[in-house]
């Protein structure tokens, strides 16, 4: 049931392509206004800086995230969902609020990244750990 629910939800969220996208989005749900460098965010989430930079770009591109930086600044001010939050955000956050739900989402995203077609009704795949820095 959860597997089906995960894929139905992800079908609505074209923007998320990678587990890092998901973890970054969830980070900004908890910290909607963050003054940090991308290095610091990467350290907090346990991803490589390059991978995290790509996910930041994804969220910025779809206007879920805005970022401001001063020429001499070491950090950027990230503001998440400053306008209206998309309607899929609330069910996504709810699903990811449990460990099982979050892992199911991550695994489904991992499959997407690898081009594995979703198995409707099948079990969630094995646990995936964040990429090493």
């Amino acid at each position: 049931m959860e597997h089906e629910q995960v894929h139905r939800l992800l079908d609505r969220i074209a923007v998320l392509r990678d587990p890092c996208d998901l973890d970054l989005l969830l980070f900004f749900v908890r910290h909607p206004r963050a003054l940090l460098s991308s290095d610091q965010i990467a350290a907090l989430l346990g991803y490589a800086v390059k991978r995290l930079g790509d996910s930041l770009d994804v969220l910025v591109t779809v206007d879920l995230l805005s970022r401001t930086q001063k020429p001499n600044g070491v950090a950027r001010l990230y503001v998440f969902a400053d306008g209206v939050a998309p309607d899929w955000l609330s069910p996504l956050v709810e699903l990811a609020s449990t460990r099982a739900g979050r892992l199911a989402l991550r695994n489904a995203l991992d499959d997407r990244r690898k081009g594995v077609p979703p198995v409707r009704g099948g079990p969630a795949g094995p646990d995936q750990t964040p990429e090493a820095n």
Binding site: V29, R33, A75, L77
Partner: protein, 511 residues
């Protein structure tokens, strides 16, 4: 230079009074305390009230606490932070200490630009310990004092009233560098009292204003937030000091048949009366009758009890024919119970002050003074300070206050107020004693002191009749040998008077 005092009200209940209305605008406030003392709640409430009550938008800067948890915890106090964010009156920014310290040193700081864009007047930074830039090359690192100074300079440029919380791992024996640089220093404490913990707040310093020194108690209350209670010893308004006397003309009748004639018609308005006696002698009965007399005369009356809960007081009153419930329902009487276990003196006194200010009673009964003394058992000075403050409060409101005081001695009394040494504060003292005559304990009432009034100091017999209450009997018209025929009634060994004649023998046979 501004000529009028421009202060920032904290909005925290009770605190602005202690701060002489608020903190001078632009002051850098250091809020220090150990883990769990309430620093984050204090800081959030400071910013919340600014944005919601005083039209002063604010920014909260967090380093470790997740904003969603902060929002959740604030909701528990009834503070809707997301609503303020939506209205542009609040921004919660998550960052690191390193970034924050660097930001404040830059002229084009993103943080300060955000503050300027929203017109922020208040800033709360949760946890400034460790703001030293550890990433700087060792040769370029500054001393902690210098680092804090740089931080303060950055904040002062923006004319923000900034509250910076600092976690203490131990009570500092000497001033911290941050304390000398900050304009205002507030220290929060958790104090262990036997097995209980209470919170207190002390203003260590505050430039540009007067404030009330010492440790004031505070609580964090669900749906309300922080409430600060001025320490009971702190001076109140001058009118309270001036009112330390009683009205020499207006009498307040006691409600006990036979008692008014021997107290010159009643207690004077603004006077302090102590009824002292062993448990069971009739003190609480007298208290109920005093309140019932107030009801009869249409006078607002308050009973503050630590010994018995309200239903028990009502039931006891009913047993002597006094139904307090209709008077409570009509607002003429209030019976208030405060549990004596681990009583917190500042908070308790604050509650009494509020009752006096709002209810404005003419009669007040405290049942009992001895329970207060027992609650403050290890701190006699605290009890004396509390009683001093209570007497002054009652006199300010021109209340005829009656305090029951249990005397532990079963027969006779060697001291009117035990070891409390408070009798000089009391205007009237009435002693209730058991007197053993034959095989019966009878009750004797002696008016031992009536300040500025004549007082015969004779011992009168009393009786408590089921369904009727107490009455003071005539010394000569009794169904049994009257007290007048005895000597040494309070000596624990009373004797028949040698003047007893034949008629007295008849009287003796009536016993």
């Amino acid at each position: 230079m501004p000529t009028t005092r421009d202060v920032v009200k904290t909005g925290i209940a009770g605190l602005d009074t202690i701060l002489s209305d608020g903190i001078p605008r632009g002051n850098i406030i250091l809020l220090e305390g150990a883990i769990g003392t309430g620093k984050t709640t204090f800081g959030v409430e400071f910013v919340y009230h600014g944005a919601s009550k005083f039209d002063e938008p604010g920014i909260i800067v967090l380093f470790e606490v997740s904003p969603d948890k902060l929002i959740r915890d604030a909701a528990g106090f009834g503070w809707d932070l997301p609503a303020l964010e939506r209205d542009g009156r609040l921004k919660i920014i998550f960052t690191t200490r390193q970034v924050f310290a660097q930001e404040l040193q830059q002229a084009d700081s993103l943080l300060l630009e955000e503050a300027a864009k929203m017109g922020a007047r208040r800033l709360f930074v949760d946890g400034v310990a460790g703001l030293v830039d550890g990433s700087a090359p060792s040769g370029l690192r500054r001393e902690p004092r210098e680092e804090f100074h740089v931080l303060v300079e950055g904040l002062q440029r923006e004319n923000l009233t900034a509250l910076l919380s600092l976690e203490l791992t131990a009570e500092p024996s000497v001033g911290l560098p941050e304390e000398s640089i900050a304009d205002t220093v507030i220290r929060l404490r958790k104090e262990e009292q036997k097995r209980a913990s209470t919170r207190s707040l002390e203003i260590i310093k505050s430039r540009g204003q007067n404030f009330q020194m010492g440790r004031h108690s505070f609580r964090m209350i669900s749906d309300r937030g922080i409430e600060v209670y001025r320490r009971v010893q702190a001076p109140r308004k001058a009118s309270r000091e001036r009112a330390a006397a009683f009205d020499p003309a207006t009498r307040v009748t006691t409600g006990v048949p036979g008692l008014d004639p021997i107290v010159n018609g009643g207690y004077l308005l603004g006077s302090t009366t102590v009824i002292a006696g062993i448990s069971g002698a009739g003190k609480s009965v007298m208290a109920c009758q005093y309140i019932a007399e107030g009801i009869r005369l249409g006078e607002r009356s308050l009973m503050l009890t630590l010994d018995e809960q309200v239903p028990q007081v009502l039931r006891n009153a009913m047993s002597i024919g006094i139904d307090l419930q209709p008077a409570i329902d009509s607002g003429l009487v209030q019976v208030v119970y405060d549990p004596p276990q681990e009583i917190e003196v500042d908070q308790h006194f604050h509650r009494i002050e509020q009752l006096m200010a709002v209810f404005k009673p003419k009669r007040v009964v405290f049942d009992s003074l001895s329970t207060y003394a027992a609650s403050f058992a290890t701190d006699g000075q605290m009890f004396r300070d509390f009683f001093h403050a209570l007497v002054a409060l009652m006199k300010e409101h021109q209340v005829a206050a009656v305090y029951n005081n249990e005397n532990p001695e079963m027969l006779g009394m060697s001291s009117m107020m035990g070891a409390k040494g408070m009798s000089s504060l009391v205007d009237n003292i009435i002693l209730l004693n058991w007197i053993e005559l034959g095989n019966v304990f009878r009750v004797g009432l002696t008016v031992a002191k009536m300040r500025a009034n004549p007082c015969d100091r004779m011992t009168h017999e009393c009786e408590v009749v089921n369904g009727q209450g107490m009455r003071v009997l005539d010394r000569t018209m009794l169904p049994q040998l009257p007290f007048a025929r005895y000597t040494s009634l309070l000596s624990r060994a009373p004797e028949r008077s040698v003047l007893a004649g034949p008629s007295d023998e008849n009287a003796d046979n009536r016993r």
